[in-house]
Each structure stands twice: as C-alpha cells, then as structure tokens.
C-alpha cells in the first residue's frame, strides 16, 4: 500500500506544480503589463545574463550595461550562471517568465546559447549577445563583438615591429583561449595572420591551451619556458592571464622592463587594469583594447531599435584600438582598464 501511495506521488507532484501555477497570477508580469511597456514610454525592464563575472572585463561590461540602463531609467534584472549553460537557459526562461522587454546575454559559448535565443524568439523578446556571437542558425539575435581577428593582428604586428628593431630572431609563445569561444579563435587566427610572412623574425615554438584558466596558463608558460628558455616574445589572448605570465617570467628571471637587456616582448588583448599598470610601469609593450563602453551602449541601443522595429545588423563590430608605449597618454582615457585602475 505504501509503495502504491509513493508511486502515485510522482504524477501528483506534476499535477500540483501545474495547479499551483494556474491558481495564481503575477500582476507585474501579466501580458497586459508587458504590452503596455511595449507601446508607451514606461521604463523598460532588461534581463542581463552573464556566463561569468570572474574577470575584470566581464565585471566592467556588466557594470557598463548597468550604468547605461540606469542612465536611461530602465530596470535591470541580473543573472550569472557561473559557467553552467543549462543554468543559463533556466535564467533566460526566468526572464521570459517575468516578461522582460529585452535580454542581453553573454553565453558560455556560441552553441549552447542557441536554445536560449530560440526561447526569446518564441516569446518575441529581442535578444542581444554581448561580446560573444552565436553560431549561424535560424535563431535570430544581434551580437556586439570586438573585431578580435583584426585587433589582434594589429596588436601582434606592432609587437613584431618592436621585435624587428632588435635585429634578431625571437622564439615566440601564444596563450590560446578556450577554443569553444569564437573570440579565442579570432585572436589565435589574428596572431597567426600577423606572424605569417614574418618567420624571419618570429618562430612560434609554444602554443599554450589555457581554456581561459589562470592555473593552466601558468603551468603551460612555466613548462614552455623550461623547454625553450630563450623565448623572447609572448602574446596572451586575454590580459587576465598576464599575472600568470609575469609569475612564470619572474621565476625564470626573465621579467625585465622594455629597453632592458633580456626584456621579453609582451602583448595582450582586452585592456584591463593589470595591462594598464604594466604599460605604465614599462613592462607591457602593447595590448588590443576592447571598447567595453561602446559595446554596452550598442547592446542597449540594439534592443531599443529591435523593439522599435528598426533593422539592426546581426553583427555590430567594436573596432577597438591598440594601446602601446607610443600612444599611452593619448589613448588611456578610452581604455576601460585605465578607468578601473585609476579608481
């Protein structure tokens, strides 16, 4: 009898979930409320779902979006999935349940976000991907991304010019990001494009797969420096890995200022506060800066334009810029890491 009662519980549980759900309604999220938001000047509610807040770049992006929405008088609902794609899908569905007026998403990768975009499409809620585009599919979204390939190529080209000035050939290392992240692939390809044709100056002897993990990056750099102690050129696909490189270089006795004998030419991507400080201190040669404020502003604007029925391109490029010792004082005001560093 007990067994039968227990077995009967499972369908009853489902029924209960349905009944409780049907028995109450949430006035704030009723279709009427949502509809009025679409047609009047009523402040909008935007759901912002980030995959992680583990690096300065994502925190800066999150805060830039929050500031932009606040400036416009809009409400921001926030969610961070801590690297869990299924959890992020649940969070996006929660936003839809609350009938938000738009969703800004930083997905785990370009593929797992497709069901999220489809869910938003089905609910007729505009969805914008911040800094990470989705794979091509029938799902409709707008992505605001840095031109990772071009900006990396430009940054590495600058570093190669610096290497040429020394008049000798440099053994080089690149720290590659998570290859499930299209941004990491763009940066790797940008690095390879810059090196191509400059083999007389640059010999790439180490490619470190970091999966965007500082511990893996540090272990990889230490191993590469042991195997090739004469490495003289390092590019990291993200500035948040710079502390791992600095630590490994210090252990190997190879951390020297620009111009000093034994200086390892060092470049990065993102433009965070660590990179800014290293530029100021004269240890970092250059970094490609993503304009996080431009990306945040464009993300919110894209949602407004989509809601207004305007045509918005699927991909909006953040051109970014290269900051180096030669233009540091002129460009630092535009560098988000410099603003954080100065705070």
């Amino acid at each position: 009898m007990n067994t039968l009662r227990s077995l009967a519980f499972f369908p009853l549980l489902a029924l209960l979930l349905g009944l409780v759900g049907c028995s109450k309604s949430d006035p704030a999220s009723s279709p009427a409320a949502s509809g009025s938001a679409a047609n009047t000047d009523k402040p909008l509610t935007i759901g912002v779902a980030f995959e992680t807040l583990q690096t300065q770049y994502w925190v800066a992006g999150f805060e830039a979006i929050r500031a932009d929405l606040k400036k416009r008088g809009y409400t921001m609902l926030e969610a961070v999935s801590d690297g869990d794609a299924n959890r992020q899908l649940e969070q996006v569905k929660n936003f839809i349940t609350r009938k938000v007026d738009g969703i800004i998403l930083v997905p785990k990768d370009s593929k797992t976000c497709l069901p999220m975009i489809k869910a938003a499409n089905s609910a007729n809620i505009p969805i914008v991907l911040f800094n990470r585009p989705a794979d091509k599919s029938e799902a409709r979204s707008v992505a605001i991304v840095a031109d990772n390939f071009a900006l990396t190529r430009e940054t590495v080209a600058y570093l190669i010019d610096e290497a040429k000035k020394t008049g000798r050939k440099h053994k080089a290392m690149i720290l590659v990001g998570d290859l499930g992240d299209i941004n990491a692939i763009g940066r790797r390809d940008g690095f390879d494009a810059a090196v191509k044709g400059n083999e007389a100056t640059i010999d790439v002897v180490a490619r470190i797969p970091t999966e965007w993990n500082q511990e893996k990056a540090q272990a990889g750099v230490v191993n590469a420096l042991q195997a090739n102690p004469d490495i003289g050129f390092i590019f990291t696909s993200s500035d948040f890995l710079l502390p791992s490189i600095v630590s490994a270089l210090k252990s190997a006795g190879k951390y020297h200022k620009i111009g000093a004998a034994g200086h390892v030419i060092l470049g990065g991507f993102d433009g965070d506060a660590t990179a800014y400080q290293m530029l100021v201190d004269g240890y970092l040669d250059a970094t490609g800066v993503q304009d996080v404020y431009f990306e945040a502003q464009q993300s919110v604007q894209a949602i407004l334009d989509l809601r207004a029925g305007k045509t918005v391109p699927e991909l909006i490029r953040d051109p970014g810029f290269v900051i180096h010792q030669g233009n540091l004082s002129a460009k630092s005001a535009q560098m988000w890491g410099a603003q954080i560093g100065k705070k």
């Binding site: 007990n2 067994t3 227990s6 077995l7 519980f9 499972f10 369908p11 549980l13 489902a14 979930l17 349905g18 409780v20 759900g21 049907c22 028995s23 109450k24 309604s25 949430d26 704030a28 999220s29 807040l53 609902l77 926030e78 969610a79 961070v80 999935s81 801590d82 690297g83 869990d84 794609a85 299924n86 959890r87 899908l89 649940e90 969070q91 569905k93 929660n94 839809i96 349940t97 609350r98 009938k99 785990k108 990768d109 370009s110 593929k111 797992t112 497709l114 069901p115 794979d135 998570d178 290859l179 499930g180 797969p209 999966e211």
Partner: protein, 325 residues
C-alpha cells in the same frame, strides 16, 4: 510539555513528508513577493530543470545508502555528453544521418556511464581505496579526458529525436518518472534493495549475514554512472549541444539535494521520495532567489547554508535513532 515538543520534533524529522512540507511552506512564503514565481511558465521551468538534477541525485542516493559517495558524476555527465555528441552529430558524427544515431548514441552514453561506475566500484572494493579519493581522482581524470577529446569545443547539430529527450519536458518527465518508480520498487521490494541498506548500515554485519558486499557496492556505483549518463542525455538534449563542461558546476546541488532529502551521509538511510523532495526544495530556493534578482554569490551562499542545515539535521536524526530505547 518539553518532552511533548521534543516528540513532535522527532516525529516531524522522521516523517517521509518533512521536506515536502518545507517545500510547501517555503513556496507559500515566497510566492506573494517573488515576481513571476507562482506562474505556470515558471513551474514549467522548475520542472524542466529539476528532472536532470533528480536523475543524478537518485544515483548519488544509491551510492550514499551503500555508505559511499560519488564525486565523479559531473565528469561522467561531461564525458558522456561529448562522446555522445561526437558519435551522433550531423556534421562529423560516426553515425551522422543514420536512423540509428539516437538509439545507438543513447546506449553508448549509458554504457560509458556504466563503465566509469564499474571502474569506481571496483577500485573501491578490490583495491580498498576510499570512495572519496577514487571518485575525486575520477572526476579530474574524466573531466580532463572530456576536454581533451574535442580540445574544449562544444558540438551541436545533434539529431532532433535526441534533442527531444531532454528538450521536451513531457518526454523527460515520463523518462524520469519511470526511472524513479523503478528505483523505488528496487529499494523497497527487491533483495538488492535490502542488501544496499544492510551494506550501508554495517558492511561487516552484512558480510557475516551473507550479503555480497563488494558486488552490491559495485552495482551501486554502476547505477550511479548510468544515471549520470542518463542526466547527460537530458542535459545535452536541453542545450541541444554536447559539451565537455556540461554539468561541471552542479556537484554541490547533487549532493546537497540528496542530503536535504534525508539520505544519510553515514549510509543505510535514503528513499527515492526523499530525494525527489530534496531536489524540489533546492530548485525552489534556486529559482525564487533568482527571480528575486539576487546575485549568484548570494544564491550560492544561501544554498550552502541550507545544505549545511540539512547535514546538521542528518546528524540529529542519527543521534535520535541511536538514543531510541
């Protein structure tokens, strides 16, 4: 009067429906001031995300009843997800375009889960290694293998029939109800169920009584591996993507939900229904705090506190049971 209160408290703790009562009370308290909580759509969301977690937690429950712990379940999810996706994806899959892609892929993933579970169980019983170390090392090794197989890349374009298994709540629900009912009967009506509880209570006594202790423990780990692989099928279908890091962050939820339900960390206690309630309670907390727009850090802290509270309750139950005349 004091004795009467104690007695009520002890009876409440011992009740099968204690955690379900907590769920109802919690939902009633948060519903009025949590926007979007008490809506059909939201309960649909809770149900859809609860089911894969329940499947893994049921496997953890079996292992914990036998007095063990399986920390490798999340790595099995990632490994099974990526191997299945490698086999059946429409671009480069070994079974691309075949009508058998979905059934063969499902069997492959389940077999992989069983193999990892058997490895864990044999290492624990034959090499007499602590379950904690074996499954922790397994978690690292199998997670690494999953990442290495595709160099961290996710794989999508999976067959539509496969995606339906996890992406359609009704189908997922039917699968999970079948599994839960089967495990309920297994534990309450079969000789294996009695063996499992006996091994968890006291393996030495169980051995003297003629219970095949090693075989029972291995079977529990195999079942846990198969259930983790089943969860991988559901989660992969839900995300429409195979990923080596799928489920990597849910170990705390799995163990937490199992313990909250009442399965004992000390072995010998646990029921399917308790685990259902434990998962439901954890999901209600997760979902409501998320809807209240609290940060991931706050949600994690609250969940950690609830799990700690459940572990304290587990200790209290054990103490009451020991003190019973």
């Amino acid at each position: 009067m004091r004795a009467g209160t104690d007695s009520v408290f002890r009876r409440a703790l011992a009740s099968d429906y204690f955690v379900f009562g907590l769920c109802v009370v919690y939902a009633a308290i948060v519903a009025p001031f949590t926007p979007g909580f008490a809506t059909p759509d939201n309960f649909g969301n809770i149900l859809a995300t609860l089911l894969p977690l329940l499947v893994i937690a049921l496997g953890q429950m079996l292992v914990m009843i036998a007095g063990g712990i399986d920390l490798s379940v999340t790595s099995i999810v990632g490994l099974a997800s990526i191997v299945g996706a490698l086999a059946i994806n429409d671009d480069t899959g070994w079974l691309a375009g075949s009508a058998l892609a979905t059934p063969v892929g499902v069997l492959l993933m389940l077999a992989l889960g069983a193999a990892v579970g058997a490895f864990n169980g044999l290492a624990i019983t034959q090499l007499r290694m602590p379950a904690f170390i074996v499954t922790l090392a397994g978690m690292m090794a199998f997670s690494g293998l999953a990442v290495w197989l595709t160099q961290s890349k996710a794989i999508n374009r999976l067959p539509a029939a496969f995606n339906l298994l996890g992406g359609t709540t009704a189908i997922t629900f039917a699968i999970v109800v079948f599994v839960a009912a089967f495990l309920h009967l297994l534990l309450s009506r079969s000789l294996f169920g009695r063996w499992l509880y006996a091994v968890g209570h006291n393996p030495r006594t169980a051995h003297i009584s003629g219970v095949p202790v090693a075989g029972t423990i291995v079977a529990a780990y195999v079942a846990s591996g198969i259930l983790a692989a089943l969860a991988a099928i559901l989660l992969t279908g839900q995300a429409e993507t195979g990923s080596p890091v799928l489920g990597q962050r849910i170990l705390l939820d799995v163990i937490g939900a199992t313990v909250i339900g009442g399965t004992s960390l000390f072995g010998g206690r646990g029921k399917v229904l308790w685990t259902v309630f434990g998962v439901l309670f954890l999901k209600l907390i997760d979902n409501s705090l998320n809807l209240l727009n609290l940060s991931i850090f706050t949600i994690t802290m609250v969940k950690g506190a609830v799990i700690l509270f459940a572990a304290v309750m587990d200790s209290l139950r054990r103490r009451f049971a020991d003190a019973r005349p």
